[in-house]
Symmetry: C2
Subunit: 690 residues, 2 copies
Amino acid sequence: MRVAEAGQSWFVAGLAGMCIGINAALISIITAWLSDLKMGYCSDGWWLNRQFCCWEIEGDSDGCDSWHPWSPAWAVRWIVYTIFASVFSFTAAHLVRSIAKYAAGSGISEIKCIIGGFTMKGYLGFGTFFIKSMTLPLVIASGLSVGKEGPSVHVACCIGNLVASLFSRYSRSQGKMREILTASSAAGVAVAFGSPIGGVLFSIEEMSSIFSIKTMWRSFVCALMATATLSAMNPYRSGKLVLFQVTYDRDWHFFEIIVFVILGIFGGLYGAFVVKFNLQVAAFRRKYLGSFPVSEAVLLATITALVGWFNRFIRIDMTESMSILFRECQGGGDYDNICQTSEQWTMVNSLFLATVLRIGLVIISYGCKVPAGIFVPSMAIGATFGRMIGIMVKALYRAYPRSSMFAVCQMDVQCITPGTYAFLGAAAALSGIMRLTVTVVVIMFELTGALTYILPTMIVLLVTKAVGDFLGTNGIADEMIRFNGYPFLERDDESYNVPVSRVMKRDIRTLPASGLRVRDIEDRLASTQIKGFPIVSADGTGLLVGYIERADLRHILDKAPHVQDISPDTPCSFLPDEGDQNHASLRVDIPGIAAGPAVGVDDDISMEIIETIAIPNVLKFWPWVNRTPLTVAPQLPLEVVMQLFKRMGPRVILIEDHEVLSGLVTVKDVLRFTVTEQSPARSPWDEREF
Amino acid sequence: MRVAEAGQSWFVAGLAGMCIGINAALISIITAWLSDLKMGYCSDGWWLNRQFCCWEIEGDSDGCDSWHPWSPAWAVRWIVYTIFASVFSFTAAHLVRSIAKYAAGSGISEIKCIIGGFTMKGYLGFGTFFIKSMTLPLVIASGLSVGKEGPSVHVACCIGNLVASLFSRYSRSQGKMREILTASSAAGVAVAFGSPIGGVLFSIEEMSSIFSIKTMWRSFVCALMATATLSAMNPYRSGKLVLFQVTYDRDWHFFEIIVFVILGIFGGLYGAFVVKFNLQVAAFRRKYLGSFPVSEAVLLATITALVGWFNRFIRIDMTESMSILFRECQGGGDYDNICQTSEQWTMVNSLFLATVLRIGLVIISYGCKVPAGIFVPSMAIGATFGRMIGIMVKALYRAYPRSSMFAVCQMDVQCITPGTYAFLGAAAALSGIMRLTVTVVVIMFELTGALTYILPTMIVLLVTKAVGDFLGTNGIADEMIRFNGYPFLERDDESYNVPVSRVMKRDIRTLPASGLRVRDIEDRLASTQIKGFPIVSADGTGLLVGYIERADLRHILDKAPHVQDISPDTPCSFLPDEGDQNHASLRVDIPGIAAGPAVGVDDDISMEIIETIAIPNVLKFWPWVNRTPLTVAPQLPLEVVMQLFKRMGPRVILIEDHEVLSGLVTVKDVLRFTVTEQSPARSPWDEREF
């Protein structure tokens, strides 16, 4: 039994991982083809991208006879490029708008809330999955300054949700489903960066609200299967999982720590700047652009294409530009003369322009109504900035090779590797915007495999984190949660100095322990969307005796008629009577703190329980009643209640005053209070039932 | 204020890391010298180890004129080798026995408990630190089949404790101290394996009971500083942080997955086997060898030296043997003809013998009364087994190069790399014995930097984990906790079906809210070692009004005389009266769930609070009284109480029945119950106050 259960959870996590890997490979292939289509076409077959079209020809990237640019004239090429960008973005935005609105945006904030216990119907459904997978390649190919990593996490969670829904143990237990979602988010990052361990850490550092070794292990299995599948499908035919993998042969020198500090400061400032202005753009978008999502996306893509064409680093795909910037100069790294001393100041200008332009584009683009992530754009910005710094340091070294700063450089080897600065800059920017640390180190490490660059990466992130902490920046995902008013408790504790009784809902719907008939329960279920009902004693004193989930009520009402005669007049009972005492062995393991004894068991077991306890003319709910729900006293400080929510993860906490039920509190009640305390703005989610 | 606090916590973590790095470098240098001393001496200076003695001579390891073996005759060398081993182990065991008993063993189990909330006075003191650092090189050099990784974690935690004790914010708050200990354990693993991120993951996966982003970040800073310091000190003068770092150029093939599965199965079986028999040896040791710790250690070292001399892989240091086994054959990897086809069966025999012998030696040695870890011995065993399998597969390939299994091997390159199997075998054995997964992947990855070997490592560990789960093995650290009866709640939940009232202590010492004098409180403190007192109403009804920590009582009794006149007859008050209401602003942020308002604040702030509220003739304790301690109802199931302990981390939970204090439960009470439920054996810790 236990072994079968463990086996099933491995199987589900593995299967989800495999599907995520396959989907990621398909997205990669389509994206590469669409991106190249903007530039030209392959005469050997329209379905070939430039790399496959020129597969036979090694080396020089320009000399391939089968690949034809759209026109010899650059102006025509520019126009075709822009037209393709507009068409792609129009298609994507239109599909999102008309079929699956939830496919817009990054999705990380929402999934964080869903894993934290929030329910958004349809957010992880098939429609969202399908449209997001379909439109993601279009958006990336359109050249918009958005990345595929956030959406990849969302798509992965959709897949995890869809796969797990096939198994009743998962579809009926929210807690188990959340574990699978956490694992899927790990796999999403794993395939996006080719970094399985980075994915596992992402799921720990960013996504999961309650850490457990079991969840970590599921993430591990899911990320492993996803990466292995992707690796077996080998979408780039190069053995690499992502375009911008790189290896370094050289070591770093202690004097470079000065540069690492500069890069770290840049990362911190970049994060603070982008978060601040992107939120203002988001507010503007909500106010004025709400009804024009398609036009907005097309306009952004057109502007990006028109302007970006003139900068060599913005014109090409972001991942491609990163792979160019990260490389060492030796061994084919000299794209467009980037390594030539004669061109160094042109390059610095070009990189500086690319950095500034891209920052502007990211600020206005992230959040528009197409699938859009911010990981890769941030990395690309960090890479252009880092490479610029790298070229400048190299120029400095060339100018003063005998200065004491460069004393450790032996004169015969390349002392400064600008590519590594690009790499570290990318790490800094990513960490600055997401406020992740260990995850970023591991992801960057898995991209390079360079043992020697772990310490520099850590030093850079230390500085980035210090700058971010000093400026009080939050990660963009958390800011978006706050901006959208989602019910999510932040991990930092604040002090409010109020008892929970000021926050609790007093007007609650309860069920008496006895005296109701099936008809009454159906009526109550129909009249409200509330997710669960406290059960109070039937004598009118209001003594709390238990709690039952709506889903379990529904389940028994649906299943019981197969076993016993149920009419609308059958009385219902929520407490065991004497005759039930000998069924005490029916109590099974408690899967979660706020769950009742028989909650979440398999269908066949629940049928068996219903059968065992069935007596004529009474419908018994007691095996599903949680007799010891989480209760607190009304004078308990709100901070402690928030900690209980965060660490114990219940959906509701009941407030009991001298054994009498006096109120009920959910995460949403807490958040409504904290929001109104901080600002009078009302959250758009306030009116929904939670 | 906030910035200064954050700065201080960074500073403390960083300083602790730096000290840990320096200590680790010293231990490495002394260990290398002592290890070589068994074999011979350097005529250029007795303080030089073989590597530094032969520093000038590159290449051939035997041809160094300054290094002299003790004798040309192997029998004499054998005897000298054995004598040194005995002397080293005698010195170590004697020092441990006579000065610092806590320096014995690995220490990971104990630190896990300490981080979980258990207090062991002196376990992290200077004596333990000093003796453990001193004797660790002796033990490693004596050739005993024990490793330095566990002790390295213990020593690191001692350093963290000593460093943090210098700062009042840490020395007065158990919670903050635990965070520093978690961070130090990360640094301990980081320096032992040269794997900073592996250390951070170790602290998450193995050590910390409550996960928080803040703790993770502190571990990151501490591990970074430790590794950077070690790297700057460069103890091996090779740029490597540990001897067995290795790089692979080759890729793996899909058919090798069969071998990976074999290695994974070996890892799982190894773990189950060693844990089982080592526990039996531990029981035997406790029963019969308790009074002969020194003789036992000397005997073990002598046997190991006498027998081990005849096996080329046991004779040398374990880390050295791993570095040999991990290597590819090209580029100087051909130690003792290990790569020669002609020698292959001799090697297989030798490796098989080494595996079996070492397993036996580990089973009898781990747990003897000297500093002793099990990480490296396990890895060494996995490495010998893996290399053996590797040589066999290579022989198979040589015999049937055209079989369909080897179809993917191109005939011109080396298809099988036995070194990688040794590497994967080491990962499997380490994971099998510790039941760690993600940590082991990261550590192995940081040892090689081989991107291509992440997937194989993950596959191997997947199998190891499956085998271990199937056999129901627990990690050896957890088994040792159980064996020693330490109060530690395991992470897995079990079902007991009893209410907490069956487990709670009913006979508890309380303080009335008023009516006591200073003398009475001093008396009560002197009469018991209890760590805190519930406060009940003074009217005899026993209504619970709060909880105060013993440390805070003591603190105020010590500090208040500086501010106001205190005589033994001064009345004490634990509740604010009307005059105190205007001091409500004194309530500061609650640092931990079970902590009171002013608990753990800096000395100057607490003096200020005492001054502010001081009125003549009353000593006021109320700012330190936690008015809302964690309370539960007596009928709450034990499982939920265990979850509360694990996730919320309080020291005690009070049991309140209709507002009246009816009992108190600590982790130890819970464990005593679970132990007596499972077996009638009594824990030796039962009698201590917790």
